[in-house]
């Protein structure tokens, strides 16, 4: 396979350095809006849908990168776009299930949801799985970044007479340091605004590249007619080849990937939570999936398609044997002029960095919420003032960002031996998402889903997944839809189907056998030595887990051990975990959104349709928990004291940057004026003389 080094000119490097400096300055500017952990992680829940949509572009395009889709575009044609065009199927579940629940229940992380919905032990397991998922995702991001910059670097450089080779891992470590510095001092607001800028630049750069490519080839008709029919089809062949087939990618991406991306990608969820309300989050999701993703599919894959066309017409310019992961850089270098190539590369690498930034920020959020705070609570540290606590948590969040960056670099080692980034990512998604996907999905939509169900899914489901990974020819083969098993990377994609089926099966089994568990447990609870019996049983379950995890014993015995785990774990959980179905599902399942809204408001929601009003603001001393409007304005908004209000600078293009959420106080008699306190002005960044727009939330 042909690989490249030293691509690009000095001009390109200058353009890239300037681009990075501008982007970092831009991000640092908005970093000043970070005042507490809420701002650091969620941007203060204040932004408009369009701003979030564009900022998601950089995250989405970055993660589903130029590198991997160009690689597949070069190998298989336009069907490389299919993973961008299959996210709509779960949108109703997301818009009207998961999104309102996470916003209204005020959870700050996915594991926190597991604690509220199930139990602390479920949260503990969810934290482990989610951290593995997020760190793995960061690792994939770093790997892609490394593969993107390697073709531009020399094979080695000489320093003080010593030749130092440039390796993939070396490049990744340098990139990680730059990324870590930026995110550590920026926070979510900085990331959102940097991504907003980069979202536009990315789409522009990608479409520009397509235009250059078509021009290089002599027009669209020539390009289209050069491609064989198979390369023009939008979906891959049903079940072949093993490294790129429709049915495997359907289960890995359209099912596990889409649910994983929408439901458990903390980075993306934090973006939606940064929206000013649930409806804005829905709009951001809808516009992004409906219109931005199809454009992004062209933006990220076209270098591969153009590369394929050039390789047909001029194999001496681009060899058909070019390394697929390098094709983006190779094509960009051929069809773009010096300087422009630097700009495209800067946009690409900056987008990838942006994805990694978001994920690092999100993983740090999980660390603070699900490790740092519970540990602090457990250690019963001295009671601190709110501001002191905030200061410490912000510090811990920044250290967590650094730690996560280091772990992300280490995670690259697990993926770097896959032939392409695409396959590494596919394998990663198929393997890590199913247990959490099943846990979240059944948790949100099935009231009867219990802690025993979710913990058995996490333990028993994972045990069967481990066996599937170890014996794919026996366990995954029945699900393969005729896909040939690749011995070095067996069933990279279709394993998602097996993993979903076993996790779902285990979950359903645990729930449907709940009456037996309850009966047995109640008998044991009434026995004098019941606790001793359960402790012995727990020890036995741990022994079985060790047996499966460390591959001790024959396959038959391991399958038997996994079945033992699936049968016994529900009894252990039912015995030790306190669970009240009514209490634990209130406001936390799709069937109780009304309760969730009441919890969010701390009162009965007011859904009467009112109008938005424009007001001047006046500073007063008083209760910082409320804002006060005139009776006339309150009537126009159909608002009552105690209702929730969103107050923002009237200028729409700010996207909600200067805004606050508050509560309606008692009305006054000064029409067109809102009374706000100094603290509210400071938090909302309101400018003297600027008109504000007020709208009742609920």
């Amino acid at each position: 396979m042909q690989t490249f080094h030293n691509i690009g000119t000095t001009t390109d490097w200058i353009v890239m350095v300037v681009y990075f400096i501008v982007i970092m300055l831009f991000g640092s500017y908005f970093g000043r809006y970070t005042k507490n952990t809420s701002d650091f992680f969620f941007g203060g829940r204040r932004f408009s849908w369009w701003l979030i949509t564009m900022s998601i572009v950089a995250t989405g395009v970055g993660s589903h990168s130029f590198v991997k889709y160009s690689a597949k575009g070069f190998q298989h044609g336009i069907s490389s776009s299919m993973t961008y065009l299959n996210d709509w199927f779960f949108i109703a579940f997301f818009m009207f299930g998961w999104l309102p629940i996470i916003v209204y229940s005020k959870v700050r992380s996915i594991p926190e949801y597991f604690e509220k919905r199930f139990s602390p032990s479920a949260r503990f397991l969810a934290t482990i799985l989610l951290l593995l998922y997020m760190i793995g995702y960061i690792g994939i991001g770093f790997l892609t970044l490394g593969k993107a910059v390697i073709p531009m670097l020399p094979q080695a450089f000489v320093i003080f007479g010593t030749t130092v080779p440039i390796t993939l891992m070396g490049a990744i470590i340098v990139i990680a340091i730059i990324t870590g510095i930026y995110i550590t001092f920026g926070g979510q607001t900085a990331v959102i605004f940097t991504d907003l800028l980069q979202g536009f630049i990315l789409l522009f750069a990608g479409l520009l590249l397509f235009f250059f490519g078509i021009t290089y080839l002599g027009g669209f008709d020539i390009f289209w007619n050069l491609l064989p029919v198979e390369w023009k089809l939008p979906l891959a062949d049903f079940n072949q080849p093993a490294n790129f087939n429709f049915v495997g990618i359907f289960w890995q991406d359209a099912i596990a990937g889409s649910i994983g991306f929408l439901f458990m990608n903390q980075g993306l969820i934090m973006r939606f939570m940064a929206c000013k309300n649930v409806n804005e989050g829905r709009k951001a999701a809808a516009v992004n999936i409906l219109f931005v993703l199809p454009i992004s599919a062209i933006v990220v894959g076209n270098a591969g398609w153009i590369g394929k066309a050039i390789s047909i017409v001029s194999p001496d310019v681009i060899s058909p044997n070019t390394s697929p992961d390098q094709i983006f850089v190779v094509v960009a270098n051929i069809i773009a002029s010096p300087g422009m190539f630097g700009f495209i590369m800067a946009a690409l690498t900056a987008a990838l960095m942006s994805t990694v930034d978001t994920l690092i920020n999100a993983t740090a959020a999980i660390f603070i919420n699900d490790v740092y705070r519970p540990v602090q609570k457990f250690l019963k540290k001295a009671i601190l003032t709110e501001s002191e606590k905030e200061r410490r948590e912000l510090g811990a969040a920044r250290y967590a960002s650094i730690g996560v960056t280091v772990l992300g670099v280490l995670a690259v080692l697990a993926f770097k031996n896959f032939p392409t980034v695409y396959e590494a990512h596919g394998y990663f998604h198929s393997t890590l998402t199913p247990p959490l996907v099943v846990g979240i999905f059944l948790g949100v939509f099935w009231k009867k889903f219990t802690p025993a169900g979710v913990i058995t899914t996490f333990v028993g489901g994972v045990a069967l997944m481990i066996l599937g990974a170890r014996y794919p020819g026996i366990l995954i083969a029945p699900f393969d839809h005729g896909i040939e098993m690749n011995q070095s990377h067996p069933y990279s994609y279709i394993r998602a189907l097996y993993n979903i089926v076993v996790c779902l099966g285990v979950a359903i089994l645990a729930v449907f056998t709940a009456p037996w568990q309850a009966k047995t447990v109640s008998v044991l609870q009434n026995k004098q030595n019941g606790k001793t019996a359960m402790n012995i049983l727990t020890g036995f379950v741990i022994f079985l887990i060790v047996l499966v995890t460390f591959n001790i014993a024959s396959i038959d015995f391991q399958i038997f051990a996994a079945l033992g785990i699936i049968i016994l774990v529900p009894f252990v959980v039912t015995y030790f975990v306190q669970y009240d179905e009514e209490k634990n599902t209130k406001g936390l399942i799709a069937g109780s959104i009304g309760e969730a809204r009441r919890y969010f408001k701390d009162g009965e929601p007011n859904d009467e349709e009112g109008e938005k009003v424009l007001v001047h603001w006046k500073q007063i001393d008083g209760d910082t928990a409320v804002v006060r409007f005139s009776t006339e304005n309150m009537a126009k908004m159909k608002a009552q004291p105690g209702d929730l209000v969103y107050l923002s600078d009237k200028r729409k293009w700010l996207g909600g940057l200067k805004s606050i959420h508050s509560v309606f106080g008692e009305s006054h008699d000064e029409p067109g004026v809102v009374y706000v306190t100094g603290e509210q002005i400071d938090h909302g960044l309101f400018v003297p003389g600027r008109i504000l727009e007020a709208e009742k939330e609920m």
Binding site: N86, W88, G97, V229, L233, P234, N279, A286, A590
Partner: protein, 165 residues
């Protein structure tokens, strides 16, 4: 060369199984009450959800037809832009209807249904009619899609037409 396993088989699998999941999602959220068609804003979302499904189905169908040479590749952006225009027009109209708090307007209802008719049936029908006799598989599938769309539109018009009381 038989390209069925590379074209229509994955298409049927994607929109058959994906379609089931999509409908299942709508039914589950409706049953749970979190998606509540008695609320005006949710009725608008129903329009967006259904449009989204047809939108993606058309993207893949058009691209497949273009790849197989049944239609010109230039037809793809024309039809998609037409659909996007219809979507934006209807969505804005629904927004305006909310502002005016007039959910029942005969003229708007007629316009809404006309646009829906145009988006689901007319544009692709006109564009593909000449090819249907020469390519039965593409034409047959197209007819199935159109029929499903008519049924879906008819069902949700009765249930969720935002202009209906």
């Amino acid at each position: 060369m038989d390209l069925f396993s590379h074209s229509w088989l994955p298409f049927i699998y994607l929109y058959g199984l994906g379609g089931l999941l999509f409908v299942f999602g709508i039914i589950i959220t409706l049953k749970a009450g979190s998606f509540d068609l008695s609320r005006y804003s949710h009725k608008k979302w129903m329009w967006v959800l259904l449009f989204g499904f047809v939108w993606y189905l058309m993207i893949h169908a058009l691209m497949t037809w273009a790849a197989l040479g049944i239609i010109s590749v230039y037809t793809v952006p024309i039809v998609l832009l037409g659909m996007a225009a219809v979507f934006i027009a209807v969505t804005l109209m629904l927004k305006r209807a909310k502002k005016g708090e007039q959910e029942t307007q005969n003229s708007s209802e007629v316009f809404y249904k006309s646009l829906e008719f145009v988006s689901y049936i007319s544009i692709p029908l006109v564009l593909f009619l000449p090819n249907m006799s020469t390519n039965l598989s593409g034409g047959g599938l197209y007819l199935v899609i159109v029929t499903i769309n008519i049924l879906v539109a008819a069902f949700f018009n009765a249930k969720a037409n935002p202009f209906k009381k």
